[in-house]
């Protein structure tokens, strides 16, 4: 090997262009990447061990910490798995409220992506606006749950508290604001010539590879495959709501950006239906106290669609009040290793942040 030509650098963990606390070891010739190795584990807290030591309801308070930018799919997964194992059926109203929370968090997470993606090409104005707009959603969350980022709201058996008075009206206001703002994002970012020139033809994934290696979310949809857990295996009340699964052709960074942008529209559309259809009813099933709440010896696999793709939990009970095993399978696990290491070979150093942001890699869910 011509050793003099190679240079090995660490892209992260302390780097402005990395999505969270992780690092990619790059082997470069000039600025072209020859080999990429992902390193994670900077955020490993041993959630799966901590959950085993706690009762079900105690565990509920910590699962939302598994994925920081978008905690709600974790809560929904956890609640759904516990309900399935314990045989609890929740009311219609709870299902609608959960859909509302999940879609709001999807919208917030996509705003975060807008900021990251535009920051990766140096368009800082979009990032500033998107983060400020995301704060409007966080305000709604704060009103509803008491927390800006971690909500601990989707409780096994229901939701923690009912909607405050006039909440849906305020939600509608925020949605109307978003509808106006999204057009501005289109003008300055999605249709911007400099973004197109950077994003088209970069980080191309083929559809066959997607199916074979289990890629999910925007990576699949960016290849023109209509894949969405909300449609394929509907949970909560997604089968009663009208929405489309946006797709795009090309499989590159730009296709994934288009898909995400269209998903924001769909989220708003779903939320508007939720506002119209919100039924009355109980918000919590009567449950035994947490010391007596036991899970039968059984296991299950539940999944929801997060903003970055399928987010799944494996959960096993053993007849005691503690969970025997909970395994988190986030979308980033395969994306950060199999996919990213593939895509970066042959790319340039300038493309690393671009590609990482377009995959939406979120390290805390890889290492838990």
């Amino acid at each position: 090997m011509e050793t003099n030509k190679h240079i090995t650098i660490f892209h992260g963990p302390q780097h402005p262009g990395i999505t969270g606390n992780m690092s990619v070891e790059l082997d470069l010739i000039g600025e072209t990447i020859q080999k990429a190795t992902t390193h994670v584990g900077y955020l490993h807290r041993g959630f799966e061990k901590l959950v085993e030591r706690r009762t079900v309801i105690q565990a509920f308070t910590i699962v939302c910490r598994i994925c920081v930018p978008e905690p709600d799919p974790n809560e929904a997964n956890f609640a759904m798995a516990v309900e399935e194992l314990a045989g609890i059926e929740v009311s219609e109203r709870v299902k609608y409220i959960r859909v509302m929370v999940l879609e709001l968090s999807r919208l917030a997470s996509q705003c975060m992506w807008l900021a990251g993606q535009s920051g990766s090409i140096g368009l800082y104005a979009v990032g500033q606006w998107a983060i400020a707009d995301r704060d409007l959603i966080l305000d709604l969350f704060e009103e509803l749950t008491g927390g800006r980022v971690y909500h601990m709201y989707i409780y096994p058996g229901g939701v923690r508290r009912d909607l405050p008075d006039g909440f849906l009206r305020r939600l509608e206001k925020v949605l109307n604001h978003f509808k106006k703002r999204l057009k501005e994002y289109d003008n300055i970012f999605i249709n911007n010539a400099s973004f197109k020139s950077r994003a088209i033809g970069v980080g191309i994934v083929s559809p066959e590879e997607c199916i074979k290696n289990g890629y999910v979310g925007q990576v699949l949809r960016g290849c023109g495959i209509e894949a969405d857990v909300r449609k394929d295996a509907p949970y909560l009340v997604y089968d009663q709501l009208d929405f489309e699964v946006p797709t795009a052709q090309g499989g590159d960074v730009y296709a994934r950006a288009l898909v995400r942008r269209a998903e924001m529209d769909q989220s708003i559309h779903i939320l508007e239906q939720v506002i119209d259809k919100m039924p009355e009813g109980e918000i919590m099933v009567k449950m035994p106290t947490h010391r007596k709440f036991k899970l039968p010896k059984n296991d299950t696999w539940v999944k929801v669609e997060s903003s970055r793709g399928e987010f799944a939990y494996y959960m096993a009970g053993d007849g005691s009040e503690k969970i025997r095993r909970m395994q988190v399978r986030g979308p980033s696990l395969v994306h950060a290793f199999t996919l990213l290491e593939d895509l970066l070979v042959g790319a340039e150093l300038s493309d690393v942040a671009l590609i990482m942001n377009s995959l939406g890699i979120c390290p805390p869910e890889i290492e838990r």
């Binding site: 041993g46 295996a233 399978r329």
Partner: protein, 192 residues
């Protein structure tokens, strides 16, 4: 499909968990044959996850492979048991590229060996020398107490249980005193 699996793998243990989720438990030597059969004949193209559950009482690990069809509408949990001592099971990396990272995770967390996987290096931990952390015999609280120190707390920090006991006793004593005083008062009034 169920009939074929039952006949071929001599198992009766097929469970329909949900309409989109099946589960089967097979013998360890038959599991890869089953996975390949599901993949070739029934379109279970994607390996979603490999999970492991430690049943320390029954002396085995339950390894579950979760497969999904290419239209992502059906999932199949294929489970097998392997012994806890010197646990090992063949790698799936030759068929599914993404198995590498999942096996690496399980190797680190449970100490399971996957012959055939070339890249079983540390994933999340760094320089870990103790028992693999997710095995049941690893006590994380004991580890923390041995290796790390907590803050002592505020100067006026009190043991909550003790303090509650004390307050309750105090209240009781006060009540008793009040009662006594009342009785005495009534006695006095009676005396009058």
């Amino acid at each position: 499909m169920f009939a074929t699996i039952k006949n071929r793998f001599a198992t009766t243990d097929i469970e329909v968990k949900r309409e989109d989720l099946y589960k089967v438990v097979v013998q360890r030597d038959a599991i890869f044959e089953l996975i390949f059969m599901l993949r070739e004949q029934y379109d279970y193209q994607t390996l979603n996850a490999i999970t492991c559950c430690d049943w320390i009482e029954e002396e085995h690990f339950a390894i579950t492979y979760i497969l999904t069809t290419s239209d992502r509408k059906q999932s199949f949990m294929v489970q097998t048991m392997i012994g806890r001592e010197d646990a090992q099971i063949d790698s799936l990396t030759h068929t599914f590229e993404q198995a590498e990272i999942m096996e690496r995770d399980l190797h680190e967390m449970y100490g399971i060996d996957f012959p055939g996987n070339q890249n079983l290096v540390e994933l999340s931990l760094e320089n870990w020398v103790h028992t693999p952390p997710l095995r049941r015999e690893f006590d994380t609280l004991e580890f923390v107490n041995n290796n790390l120190s907590f803050r002592e707390g505020r100067d006026g920090n009190m043991d909550v249980k003790k303090e509650m006991k004390r307050l309750r006793a105090l209240k009781k004593a006060q009540k008793a005193a009040a009662k006594k005083a009342k009785e005495e008062a009534s006695e006095v009034s009676d005396g009058n």
